[in-house]
Structures are given as C-alpha cells and as structure tokens.
C-alpha cells in the first residue's frame, strides 16, 4: 500500500513519556538531584535519564512511528515492533534508575541493575532504530535524512551508555573505566545534540511547512544544516574516543564540536526563518506560536553557551545550559507539537471513516486554543525563570520554577486528554454517522 495509516501505539508512547515527565518534575520539585546534588551525582543521573530517555526519547519514538511513514509515504516496516519496544524501553529505564538509586545508596547494593537496564534499553532502541531506519531508508531525502542521522546518533548514545553502565557495575575493564572517566560529555552530546536535536529539526521542517502552507526547504540548504550537525556528532564520537584513547586533546575536540554545533543551529535558524517568511497562512495556530518560543529557547541556549565560554564559566554552569536546551528547546517543542499531533490523529481516526458522508468537525474544533495558551505560557516562563535561578545559584527558587512548570504541563496534558476524548466538540457533529470515539491510549486502526 502507498500512503500512511494511523500508528497504533503512538498515543501509548505519548502517555508513557508524559508519565516520566511528571516523575522528573516531581523529583525537581522535591529537590532530588541537581541543583541540590552534583551534576554527576547518582540522583542527578536518575533525573537526567528520566527526562532524556523516559520523556524525550519515548515521546520522540512515538512521534516517529507516526511521522516517518508520512515522510516516505510508505507503511512502517513493522507495526508489530512498536509495543514490544515500548515495554523494553520502560523496563530498561526502570532497571537503570534502580541501578542509579543503588549507586547512590538509596537502594540496597544491586549494581547489576545498571547493565541489565542497559541491555534492555539497547534491545528496545534497537527495535526502534531498525524499524524506523528500514522505513526511512525507502526514500532517504530531505527530513528523512535528519531522522537517519538522528537514529545513528541514538546508536552511538546507547553504545556509550551501555559501556558506562557496565563500567559502573565493574564489568567493563580498564578501557571501559577510561571511557567512563572522560566520556560523559560524548554521551550527552550524542544524545541531546545528535539523536534528539537532529531528529527534532528534521521533523520540524516538514511539520512547519505542512501546517503553514509553505514550500519545503530547499534540499541543498537543509543538507548544509544537517552536514554541520552530523559533522559535530561524528567528531564527538570518533574524535572523542580517539582523544580519550590518547589521553589528550579532548577539549580541542569538544571546541571543534561546539563550532560545528553552533553553525548547524545558525543554519537551522535561517531555514526556519525562511519557512516562516514563505508561508501562505498568515494566522498561526497555537502549536506554531508556541514552537517559536522553543526556537527562541534554542537561540538563547546557543547565546548562553557562547557567553559562558567567553567568560570561562561553561564548566561551572553546564547545568543551566543543559536545562534550557532540554526544557526550553526540546521539551517545549515536543509539548507544542504533541498538542497538535494528538488533535490531528484523533480527528483522522474518528472522522476519517465518515468524512465526506456526514458533516464532520474541523481539526481546530477538537481543541480550545484560548484555554491552552495560558498553560504553555506558564510552562515557558517557568523554564526561563528556572534557568535564571540555576545561573544565579538559587536552588529553592528553582523548586518554585519546577512547580510552575508542573502546573503548566498538567494544564497542557488536561487539554490533550480533552482533545482525545472529543470533549470540546459540539454534540451534533461529535460522533456523526457511526463515527466511534477513540480510545485514550491507543488507536483502533
């Protein structure tokens, strides 16, 4: 079959991802992990992996199971792998977090949980990478190239992480210990910069031009953006391992990576500005207006990074830098797009079968943007305030910011659930001509 159908498990991925986000926000409100503990402490590792794997990676995988088939206009290589992958990822993350808690003395010593978690996560991400990779490979053009580069980065991130997990359990030998001692930045850059950022960029190119009626970005142009980003990640992995092996030159490698990374972010900014300028649709939907706050956060992250390097404060302030990248840029974009994707998929699932045969609502009738706007604004303002509290070293104010972020996310999730339940659709067109209301957590395709 040509074309793309509704991905059955995307909603399940989104729900699981949001559950992890709430867990992470609760930890931040409770003062567990950074900034109440060291950046490299076991408590911070719990927090970082709940956000990086639990929230962002699982949400991204769920979105990609739906989106990659749309990019290539071909069905997913295997729909059957999506649910086992989610189970493996969840089990692996629970085990990994158990290992970190045991590392920090919060659980009885059971460091074997770390390698077990790593194996389960590698298996889960392996299923995702093979499934999405084989699908994207069918038409590797434009945004699909970004996804492929993102998946390659995911493999590198998972490989680093697995070595670290085995090294922390004492099972990785001297090479593993050397990598663990110096290689954490490589793992973080490959994960946040490669997997999550490159993939988010690729997906945003198509979503933005689709929803704003704008021509696709010229392929030669986006290829430069991807090229700079892929060079940064390739340099991180290859140059980083080499430098650690030679026990010198890692800071030189990371400086080169930073230059390529900044170039990629700047080129991406140019591409996105082009899409906005060329759009036929003047009136922007909420998800698009909120996405601009996310782009602004990416630009602010880049500027903050430059400012910290110039003032020689980067190492001391890696926390606020990463916080702004993770919650302003990545999480903000994922929340804004999730809001739209859930509305669109719910609309398609419910009304697709009766479309043209009975009056159906518009996608916009499923959402109440006026109500949702304030939750997004609260979220973004809280993230920016949180970044400031981290910069000036006010951990208690940071907990207030985390509480405000939670209020924003609770509001957004409530809106998304209302959308899924068709709660805002007026009754005559809510379920016309035999349309069936969707299930909250999966699609009946």
């Amino acid at each position: 079959m040509i074309g793309a159908s509704i991905s059955r498990w995307t909603m399940s991925y989104f729900a699981m991802a949001l559950a992890w986000l709430f867990l992470a926000l609760s930890l931040m409100m409770a003062g567990v992990g950074y900034p109440f503990a060291e950046v490299a402490s076991p408590d911070t590792l719990v927090l970082v992996h709940a956000v990086g794997i639990g929230w962002l990676s699982i949400a991204m995988c769920g979105a990609l199971f739906q989106f990659v088939p749309v990019l290539v206009a071909k069905p997913l290589f295997s729909e059957k792998w999506a649910l086992p992958a989610l189970v493996l990822l969840t089990a692996g993350l629970v085990s990994l977090i158990g290992g970190f808690l045991s590392l920090g003395g919060r659980l009885p010593p059971s460091l074997w949980l770390l390698p077990l978690g790593a194996i389960l996560l590698v298996a889960g991400f392996g299923l995702v990478v093979v499934d999405l990779g084989l699908t994207a490979w069918l038409r590797p053009a434009g945004p699909a190239r970004f996804v492929l580069a993102g998946l390659a980065s995911l493999c590198a991130t998972a490989a680093f992480g697995a070595v670290f997990a085995f090294a922390l359990a004492g099972w990785a030998g001297s090479a593993g210990n050397a990598l663990l001692a110096a290689g954490i930045p490589l793992h973080a850059i490959a994960g946040l910069g490669g997997w999550l950022t490159l993939t988010a960029m690729g997906v945003s190119y198509r979503l933005l031009s689709m929803f704003m009626l704008s021509p696709d970005v010229d392929e030669r142009q986006s290829r430069m953006t991807l090229g700079a980003g892929a060079l940064a990640i390739g340099m991180t992995v290859a140059g980083g391992i080499l430098a650690i092996g030679l026990a010198s030159g890692l800071s030189v490698v990371l400086s080169i990576v930073a230059v390529f990374g900044l170039a990629s972010a700047a080129l991406y900014g140019r591409d996105i500005a082009g899409i906005f300028r060329a759009r036929k649709r003047r009136q922007l939907e909420l998800n698009m207006r909120m996405a601009t706050l996310s782009f602004a956060s990416l630009a602010a992250t880049a500027l903050l990074g430059i400012a910290l390097v110039v003032t020689d404060g980067f190492a001391a302030h890696i926390g606020p830098f990463a916080f702004l990248a993770v919650f302003g840029w990545l999480s903000g974009l994922v929340l804004a797009k999730l809001y739209k994707i859930v509305a669109f998929l719910t609309w398609l699932e419910t009304y697709g079968p009766v479309m043209g045969r009975a009056p159906t609502p518009r996608v916009q009738d499923l959402v109440a943007e006026g109500r949702a706007t304030k939750w997004f604004v609260i979220y973004y303002v809280a993230v920016w305030a949180g970044t400031l509290t981290l910069l000036v070293g006010e951990p208690y104010a940071f907990r207030m910011a985390a509480a405000a972020m939670t209020v924003g996310v609770v509001g957004i999730v409530r809106e998304v659930i209302r959308t899924r339940r068709l709660a805002d659709v007026a009754s005559p067109v809510r379920l016309p001509g035999g349309a069936i209301a969707p299930h909250l957590l999966f699609a009946r395709n």
Binding site: M1, G3, A73, R139, L348, P353, G356, T360
Partner: protein, 169 residues
C-alpha cells in the same frame, strides 16, 4: 510508423518515486504525430485509460524480469490497432474528470476532506481530479478502504501534486 520518444521511468519506480508527472511532461513535449515508448517495471494499466483519453492507443510488450515496454501511438495516425485492450473490469476506462478541485491553497486537512466529499458523490466509474501542494499520504488509505482507485504525481517543478481518483464501477 510514427516516431517514438523514449521515456524510461524504471529508475524512478525502482527508487520508489512516482513517474506520472514525468510521463505527462514528456507527452506535452511531443510533436504532432509523435508517439511515446515507455519503459516501466510493471504494466501501468491505469495509465492506458488516461492516455486513451488524450488520444493515444497502446500496445504493450513484456520484457525480461517482469518489465514492460509500451508503445503509445496517436490514434489519428491509424497506424496501430484500435486502443485500450480491456485488462479487467474497471481498469481500462478512466473518463475525463467530472469534478476538478484546486485544493492547493487550503489548510490541511481540508484538501482531504473535500476530495473525500467529492469522491463520495461520483457516479460509478466517474473520476475527479484534484491539485494539491503535497502528496496526500493520509488520503490514500481512506480511498483504498472505500474502493477507489487513484493515480497521482508531482508536476516536474515539484510544486503541484496532480491526483486523479476513480470511483468503483
């Protein structure tokens, strides 16, 4: 015998692409009386009806490896036998569209809504044509479920997607 212009869409098909627009572009460049020699990786039955509509008869010949060579000859030259070999019910007659939609400037998913609404009003075997900005990937499964056939592709400049939908006869 008329002259034939060769169009080989096998590389496009092997790459998973959509050759319709390339064929239509080649057609527009033909001089009066010229025919088209098409090479494809499958027998493009729906195309026969489209070409018959445009005044071309076809004669197909199987090549090795499941590939096909099709000669499209302008019927005015009378150099080939009468057009449109019936290959199966409902595959050989794509009449001129009864509905023409220009959905290029509509917000998604409005193009899809309008196509499905118009398609449901078609009589048996009738066709509609629609212009779009993008390949309507979510529309195809809906058309398939309702028993419609379709043929589509981008124009050579890549700016417009031309879609023809035919109701079940």
């Amino acid at each position: 015998m008329p002259e034939y212009v060769d169009v080989d869409v096998r590389p496009i098909l092997r790459a998973g692409g959509e050759p319709f627009s390339v064929i239509m572009a080649a057609l527009e460049r033909l001089a009066p009386g010229q025919g088209l020699r098409l090479f494809a990786t499958f027998k493009p039955v729906p195309l026969f009806a489209v070409m018959a509509n445009k005044g071309f008869a076809h004669a197909e010949q199987a090549l090795d490896g499941g590939e096909w060579e099709i000669l499209f000859t302008p019927t005015e030259t009378k150099s080939e036998p009468a057009p449109t070999a019936a290959d199966g019910p409902g595959l050989d007659d794509w009449p001129a569209p009864t509905v023409n939609l220009d959905n290029r400037d509509l917000d998604p998913p409005e193009p899809m809504v309008r196509i499905l609404a118009a398609a449901d009003n078609l009589g048996p075997g009738e066709t509609l044509s629609a212009l779009l900005r993008r390949e309507p990937v979510f529309l195809f499964p809906q058309l398939e479920k309702r028993g419609f056939r379709w043929l589509g592709g981008f124009t050579p400049d890549g700016a417009t997607y031309e879609l023809t939908v035919r109701a079940p006869s």
